[in-house]
Amino acid sequence: MSFAPPPMSLLAELTHRCPLACPYCSNPLALDRRAAEMETADWLRVLDEAASLGVLQVHFSGGEPMARHDLPELVRHASKLNLYTNLITSGVLINDVTLEALDTAGLDHIQLSFQDVDEAGAERIGGLRGAQEKKLNAARLIKARGIPLTLNFVVHRENVARVPEMLDLAHELGAGRVEIAHTQYYGWGLKNRDLLMPSAAQLEASTEAVVKARARFGNSLAIDYVTPDYHADQPKPCMGGWGQRFVNITPSGKVLPCHAAETIPNVVFPSVTTESLGAIWQDSPLFNLFRGTDWMPEPCRSCSLKEVDWGGCRCQALALTGDASATDPVCARSNQHALVMEAATAGHDGEFLYRRFRAI
C-alpha cells in the first residue's frame, strides 16, 4: 500500500440535529440521533489528531452545528492548533450572544446558507417559519463583527430563476463571497431529485446570471458557482479524488471519504472512537477502496482524464448503476450515461420528502 498524502480539510459533522428540513440535505437518510453523538472530549482529540496529520481547515457542519453547546470550545481548540476554522450554518441560532462566543473563540469564517431570497420559497424548502428574518439578521450581526462571510444558496428548479436576486442580496449584505450551488443528488436530494432538477434552459439562465454578476461586481464579490452534474457529460472530481484531500467525520464518529459514502456496501466504516484518524486515513479498507486509479474499470482505466476527475463520484455511480466501482454515469463515455440523461428530463410530479428524523 502506497503512502497517501495527508488530507487538507476536515468536515466535522457535529450533529444531525437541525431546525430546518431541506429536501436536498446531503445528510444520510438514516440520521444520527443525539444520543449517538460523540462527546466534546472525543472531538477535542479528533482535532488534535487532524492537526498533526496535516489538516489545514476544519469545517464545522451538521445538521446545524450551533445546536451543540460545545461549539465555541471546539472552535477555540481548533484555533489554538492553528487550524483554519469555518462554520457552516443555517444561521437560525445566531444572535448577539452565540455569535460573540464564536468570535472570541477565534472563528475565522462563516458560511451562511439561505434557501431562497423569497420568503415563501425559503419556508417551503426549510420548513421553518420566520427563518428568513433570522438569517438576514444573522448576516448583519456577522458583518457588524467583521467576521468574513460567504453566503450559500443551493439552487433547484423552484428557486433557480432568482439567482440574480441572490447575487444582489449577497452584495447588499456585504458578503465577500457567495456560493451558488446547484443541488447535488445525494441523501435526501436524491430522494427528491425529480422535483429539484432544473431544466437545461434554467441551468443556462443561471450560468448567464453568474457571468453577468461577475462582470458587474468584480473583486467586490467572489462568486463560486457549482454546476449540476446531470446536464453535464464529464463528471466532477468528487472531493478532489477519493481519500486524497478530504475527510468527513459523522456525528457518531464514522470517518468517510465523502459525506455520502455511508451508502457504499460491503465495507466496514472506520470510527475515530476506536482508531486514530491517521491510521484510518492511511490504512483503512474504506479509504483505500477507490484511492488512486488502480481500482478503475474501463473506460476510465485507459482514459487520459483519469487523474483529472478520478472517474467521478463513487456514491453517484452506486446510486445510479448499483455498482460503486462503475464509471460515474454522468460521463458521456459511460455505457450507462442514458440513466443521467433520462433523469435530467424526467417528470416533476409529487411532493417533497422533507429531511426529518424517522420514527423508529
Binding site: P6, M8, L56, T150, R177
Partner: protein, 91 residues
C-alpha cells in the same frame, strides 16, 4: 496600479500566512481554501506585519538577498498588488 512605499500592509481578517509543518511549505489560508506561497512570496509575506511600511520591507529583502533594490521592489509590487486586489491584504 502600484502600492505606495509608505503603505503599511496587513492580512485582512480571514486570511493569514502559515507554515505547514507536515508538508514543509508556506500557505495562505483563506475562506474555504488554502494557497501555497512559493518561496519568494513566502519571504515577502513573512515581513507583512501590519506595522512596518513597505519601504522597510523592500530594504530588508534587498539586504537579506543582496539584490538590487529596484529588482526587489518590482517583485514585491507585483505580488502585493495582486494580493490587495484579491483582498488577501489591505493597505
Amino acid at each position: 496600479m502600484s502600492v505606495s512605499e509608505d503603505s503599511i500592509l496587513k492580512f485582512t481578517r480571514g486570511h493569514r500566512l502559515q507554515h505547514d509543518r507536515v508538508r514543509d511549505v508556506w500557505l495562505i489560508q483563506a475562506p474555504e481554501k488554502a494557497f501555497i506561497a512559493d518561496p519568494i512570496a513566502a519571504a515577502i509575506l513573512q515581513l507583512v506585519d501590519g506595522a512596518r511600511p513597505l519601504s522597510v520591507l523592500i530594504d530588508t529583502l534587498a539586504e537579506t538577498y543582496q539584490a538590487p533594490r529596484e529588482t526587489i521592489a518590482g517583485d514585491v509590487q507585483t505580488l502585493l498588488t495582486s494580493l490587495i486586489e484579491q483582498k488577501v491584504l489591505s493597505a
